[in-house]
């Protein structure tokens, strides 16, 4: 931890020194002190943008988790369906979603809806793949025994399958949020009028490097905080299990 903080300080100091000595063009690589100075003037706009982006991400996240877990339960539970559709799911998961982004914007316009849809699209497939895989790999013996003791289908899902896939769902919760945030930011950069993505795009186009660096740091910090928060939650839940 000490070494990590120390190397961060060294990097920042070296960067500051290079910028002051004029070895890098401050138009493109501003000194850390210049970035820090830009924070007060940017703070209000950036925080509003971040709130907007995170609100869209939360909506996209909710949609992708609910739809992904539901579809994963269906797909993983029915062997025939899974065997048939798996290649399509893998292909859609691997396909760069950016190719359909222009069409989504064409259909849904500029604003909140395309960002939520595209963000959810990003989050949906990893959740679906993780959850359907976990459902498929539920110990067959447990299912057989539960059935032998007369469990009904809904009881099988509630008492055997759901507890067994909790780790996969938790992993999906962690993975999905980064994908959703990524999708929302991409839409905002491509065709946004609000949010951090559009703010960062505008700052880059305006050659306002100090503000851009500050905004980038803010989004990065927010997303690291979210992931660490989910990790902590994960840890707590797995201890409880």
């Amino acid at each position: 931890m000490g070494l990590q903080a120390a190397s961060l300080v060294v990097v920042l100091a070296a960067w500051e020194g290079l910028a002051r000595a004029g070895w890098v063009d401050p138009l493109f690589v501003p000194a850390p002190s210049a970035v820090a100075r830009s924070v007060p003037s940017l703070a209000a706009v950036a925080l509003a943008g971040l709130a907007d982006t995170l609100a869209k991400t939360a909506m996209a996240y909710a949609v992708s988790i609910v739809a992904g877990v539901a579809a994963g339960l269906v797909l993983g539970g029915a062997r025939v369906l899974d065997d048939t559709l798996r290649p399509f799911v893998i292909a859609l998961y691997g396909m760069p979603k950016i190719l359909v982004l222009p069409w989504i914007v064409l259909l849904l316009g500029y604003g909140t809806l395309p960002a939520v849809v595209y963000g959810a699209l990003h989050g949906f497939f990893p959740v679906l793949v993780l959850v359907s895989g976990a459902v498929r790999d539920v110990d067959r013996h447990l299912l057989t025994v539960a059935r032998a003791f007369g469990a009904r289908p809904w009881q099988l899902y509630l008492k055997v399958v759901l507890p067994a896939i909790v780790p996969a769902v938790l992993a999906a919760l962690r993975l999905g949020v980064v994908f959703c945030l990524l999708g929302v930011l991409v839409v905002e950069m491509f065709a946004g009028v609000r949010g951090m993505g559009s703010l960062m795009g505008a700052l880059a186009n305006g050659f306002r490097a100090p503000e851009l660096f500050a905004a980038t740091a803010l989004v990065s910090a927010a997303s690291i905080a979210i992931v660490l928060g989910l990790d902590a939650l994960n840890e707590r839940l797995s201890r409880w299990r």
């Binding site: 493109f28 065997d83 048939t84 359909v100 982004l101 064409l106 980064v178 930011l185 991409v186 795009g201």
Partner: protein
């Protein structure tokens, strides 16, 4: 039997697409029956006569980005894996940075490298770099440390240890990372082109979309997808080969 059902799923999907698209506005929805002629026009160089130049540019950007990502990923991952202290200090920083949606770096790269190919190469590099580095790091940890100790005792330097002991020992993990890295480098280049560029397939896609030439847009997407799928098929063949070699 499953192959038959899969074919039926594809046909049903295309049919549904055709019906749905005919109901909607032709400016927004393109049925397959309209996309195919657009694809023919594109391939015959009628709709975009310079499509091949753009295609080569995109492929060139992908190759450059991936080459840099492989070189840097092997170097950084190897250094962090071989020198445990370095790995303990900087491994978590890398993992934390990996948790940041990579697209946040793109505006800075665009500012720094401009709208031309360099910013796309840089972004493709950035996306490909992380999985390769992390795979090298994870792979080195799998290798039996006694093999490394023995090799060192016989006087092997870091590079020899890397090439003769570590790479064969971690090949399985390494090729997985290399394949993911390629897929992400491809995504990075294409995302970069669509977010802002003057040339390349992404620029053509934006052009077609901006002019509501939706059928041409679909055709360009299909051609781009062929490039993407070809890259992944090539990578998976190499992966299979490497797996057979390690047994």
């Amino acid at each position: 039997m499953t192959a038959l059902i899969r074919a039926a799923v594809i046909v049903a999907g295309l049919a549904a697409w055709e019906v749905a698209a005919r109901v909607g506005s032709p400016l927004l929805y393109v049925p397959p029956s309209a996309a195919l002629p657009a694809l023919r026009d594109l391939l015959l160089l009628r709709s975009y006569p310079d499509v091949l130049e753009h295609l080569w540019l995109t492929i060139g950007e992908i190759l450059a980005a991936y080459g840099l990502a492989v070189a840097a990923g092997l170097g950084v991952g190897g250094a962090l894996g071989l020198y445990r202290t370095l790995g303990r200090v900087y491994g978590p920083i890398l993992a934390a940075l990996y948790a940041v949606p990579a697209v946040v770096w793109y505006p800075s790269l665009m500012l720094f490298f401009g709208l031309d190919a360099a910013s796309k190469v840089a972004f493709g590099f950035l996306l490909g770099f992380f999985p390769i580095t992390l795979a090298v790091l994870a792979g080195i940890r799998q290798v039996n440390p006694q093999l490394v100790t023995v090799a060192r005792a016989f006087g092997a330097g870091p590079l020899t240890v890397f090439a003769k002991v570590l790479v064969p020992g971690m090949l399985f993990t390494l090729v997985g990372g290399l394949r993911t890295g390629l897929a992400l480098s491809v995504v990075g280049v294409i995302v970069g082109e669509i977010l802002g560029s003057k040339a390349g397939m992404g620029a053509l896609i934006n052009h077609a979309y901006g002019l509501l030439r939706t059928a041409d847009y679909v055709a360009l997407v299909v051609v781009t997808l062929v490039v993407i799928v070809a890259a992944d098929v090539g990578a998976s063949l190499l992966e299979r080969r490497a797996r057979r070699w390690t047994g």
